[in-house]
């Protein structure tokens, strides 16, 4: 409720400001940028891929242009492929820089710590304050300044085949132990095809693998006295890795060195009992061009992966941030655009399209079917990768892909974890 009031207040304030600005420009139409009203400009917003629905884009453009007479807003669609290279160059240019950019939440720290974005710390309260997805805000905060705010989120949850669970006489698992048992039982219950997976778990998939580490109380890396170090070889982490290995060996038929791309392919080939994927995979499984709407798609059930204590297990949180380019000449207008993108109206459109909204209070808008419930439950306990300055280097060197792939091939968890920690220690502190 409080939030709604804040938003309403913000909207009113914006309106008041806008009308003031309008009056101001009436009184001295030729004046150069008088008072607080920003100079009219074209605001360029970079959005990636097709995640943002057209409805939201239209709303943003219309509303922004209504509220800021004389200014325009242009959305320029970018691709995730090559985004980092393009941001690296364009954000450094006074003439070419966009004003507002969307960036993947794991890519954001690299840019925030480099000074590519303008601080939004003072605006944070007006943009939603505590209602913003806290993990995203933390990830974009360096030395007390916040440089990016959440745009939308998404976490993986479990897709399963109802018919297979029933055939094996299994219930939907409610704890981690039950989940692992169910995965192993499904694999034993379906000897054909040979690559059938009770739980589809390709060897490189450390993003799902991290869940087991976190659930066992371990972590990927920890900070003490400002120094980051790998903590994969802690007793808790190793317990998590052992659990992951059990799934690799006893429950998964996915390639031991494969990646997690295109999970609908094995699902529609009837090779999967359960898998952990983002929610949008459902659409692809049900699409006659990509999936199998007439066969296995009819048997899909979903649930949030349960943790050892029965509450949702910690899963890796995905999603996007938005930020304002430091080089943008239109900081004030850019802030207004960001405010609109975090407004209830705009975030509602995102939520209705299945994206987890940036504001916690809007999560119920996702709906109340089992998919929405699984999404909300999974997001409720989601975690981010460590906020270490060198984390991008760790991901770049693919230490974790190698670790999980070696686990899948039957390597000793403690030894492998110790090796991986040693590699990460050289990288984590930048």
């Amino acid at each position: 409720m409080r939030i709604k009031k804040t938003l309403a207040g913000a909207a009113l304030a914006t309106l008041a400001l806008t009308s003031l600005a309008a009056c101001g420009s009436d009184s001295d139409s030729d004046g150069d940028n008088s008072g607080d009203a920003p100079k009219a400009a074209d605001i360029r917003v970079w959005l990636n891929g097709t995640d943002t629905p057209q409805e939201a884009r239209d709303w943003l453009k219309t509303t922004f242009e209504e509220q800021n007479p004389g200014s325009t807003l242009t959305i320029e669609e970018q691709e995730w492929d090559g985004l980092v290279e393009r941001l690296t160059t364009a954000l450094s240019s006074d003439s070419e820089t966009p004003d507002v950019v969307e960036i993947g939440n794991t890519q954001a720290p690299t840019f925030t710590s480099a000074g590519a974005f303008s601080p939004l710390t003072d605006e944070l309260e007006a943009l939603g304050g505590d209602d913003l997805l806290q993990g995203f805000v933390d990830g974009a905060t360096v030395d007390g300044e916040t440089y990016a705010v959440p745009y939308y989120a998404g976490s993986k949850y479990i897709f399963y085949r109802k018919d297979l669970l029933e055939k094996a006489g299994l219930e939907v698992p409610t704890t981690m132990d039950e989940f692992v048992d169910a995965a192993v039982a499904l694999k034993q219950d379906n000897p054909k095809p040979a690559n059938f997976s009770g739980f589809w778990f390709p060897g490189q998939d450390w993003r799902n693998g991290a869940t087991f580490i976190w659930d066992a109380g371990g972590d990927l890396a920890v900070e003490s006295d400002g120094e980051w170090s790998g903590s994969l070889s802690s007793a808790e982490s190793v317990a998590g890795l052992e659990r992951a290995q059990q799934l690799f060996v006893e429950a998964s038929g996915a390639p031991k060195d494969g990646n997690e791309a295109d999970p609908w392919t094995p699902f529609c080939a009837g090779e999967v009992g359960m898998m952990s994927t983002p929610g949008w995979v459902k659409g692809l499984i049900e699409d006659p061009e990509t999936g199998c709407p007439d066969t296995f798609a009819k048997e899909i059930g979903v649930f949030a992966l349960p943790g050892s204590d029965g509450s949702p297990a910690p899963v890796l949180l995905g999603g996007s941030d938005i930020a304002i380019a430091a080089k943008s000449a239109n900081q004030e207008l850019a802030q207004k655009a960001v405010a609109l993108m975090l407004s209830e109206d705009y975030q509602t459109i995102l939520a209705e399209n299945g994206l987890t909204p940036a504001l916690n209070s809007l999560a119920p808008l996702l709906g109340d079917d089992e998919y929405a419930q699984a999404t909300i439950a999974a997001a409720s306990n989601a975690k981010l990768t460590p906020a270490a300055p060198g984390w991008a280097t760790v991901e770049g060197s693919r230490v974790l892909e190698d670790l999980f792939s070696a686990l899948a091939q039957g390597g000793d968890p403690a030894d492998l974890a110790a090796d991986a920690d040693e590699q990460m220690n050289g990288q984590l502190n930048g």
Partner: protein
């Protein structure tokens, strides 16, 4: 042409030729085949060998909106400019390097070699800054300039090899017959270089046609996109990659390369050689 003694050789050559053809063509065939299939047939435990039952859906996706044709136009302009400029510049340089001795010749050759050996992958940051200062971002001229520099060392170098491959004595003979030096060069040597010009031209074409990183950072406006940039619109990490679209797009992207090859091959090898014989 066929000498009787060469018969076993010819049979062996033909057999190897057919085998090599099959290996070369199979992945291409697979691309074209996939371009007619829906995504769930492209990757499937049972491969679909021929696109029967496939359709043109992927091609329809490609032609949705005007992005593809725009990108095609942009790519053609940049690539053709690059090839033309690079060939002319490289050709005159190659002549200088192989038909004249002059001070600095060796150092120039060595410099070209070294430039060819420098990894260019990391240069895009500085090249961006430079084009920004020149106000050439998002322009055909800017990107063409970078591409010319990209293919020029190779082109000079290879063409020099081709010019050196033509005995200077042939020109001298022509000059003894009363040709001027220029005439001798263009009537005798130039026609023999045609295949070399084709080979290097096609090389430059393919390099510029497929280049990604420089285009990515220089051409940020949607209407300035080249084909490789356009192709990434099918690879959306949050929606799954549209492989059918990628394969259909790639098939269409390959077509101009083939056309370019056939045109220059026909023009240069056919036209110039016959002209030379007459001359």
């Amino acid at each position: 042409m066929s000498r009787p003694a060469a018969r076993p050789l010819r049979i062996t050559a033909n057999v190897i030729g057919v085998l090599a053809f099959v290996v070369a063509i199979f992945p291409v065939y697979w691309m074209v085949n996939s371009s007619f299939l829906p995504r769930n047939k492209i990757r499937n435990p049972v491969p679909t060998w021929v696109p029967f039952g496939g359709d043109l859906d992927n091609y329809r996706t490609v032609f949705e909106g005007d992005q593809f044709l725009n990108a095609m136009k942009m790519s053609l302009i940049v690539t053709l400019c690059t090839v033309l400029v690079a060939l002319v510049f490289a050709f005159v340089a190659a002549v200088a390097l192989s038909r004249f001795r002059f001070r600095g010749r060796m150092s120039f050759i060595v410099t070209l070699l070294v430039i060819q050996m420098i990894p260019v992958e990391g240069l895009f940051i500085s090249q961006y800054k430079m084009l920004e200062a020149m106000d050439l971002l998002n322009t055909v001229i800017g990107l063409t300039l970078l591409y010319v520099a990209l293919v020029l060392p190779f082109t000079v170098w290879t063409l020099r090899g081709f010019v050196s491959g033509v005995p200077y004595e042939l020109e001298e003979a022509a000059m003894m017959d009363g040709c001027s030096r220029m005439q001798a060069f263009f009537r005798v040597t130039f026609p023999l270089l045609a295949p070399g010009l084709v080979a290097t031209g096609v090389f430059g074409f393919i390099q510029a046609w497929n280049e990604f990183t420089l285009a990515l950072v220089v051409m940020t406006k949607e209407d300035k996109e080249t084909l490789p940039l356009w192709l990434t619109t099918f690879a959306d990490v949050n929606r799954g990659t549209d492989w059918g679209g990628i394969m259909a797009g790639s098939t269409l992207i390959a077509v101009p390369v083939i056309i370019f090859f056939l045109v220059v091959q026909g023009r240069m090898v056919g036209g110039l050689t016959s002209g030379a014989v007459k001359g």
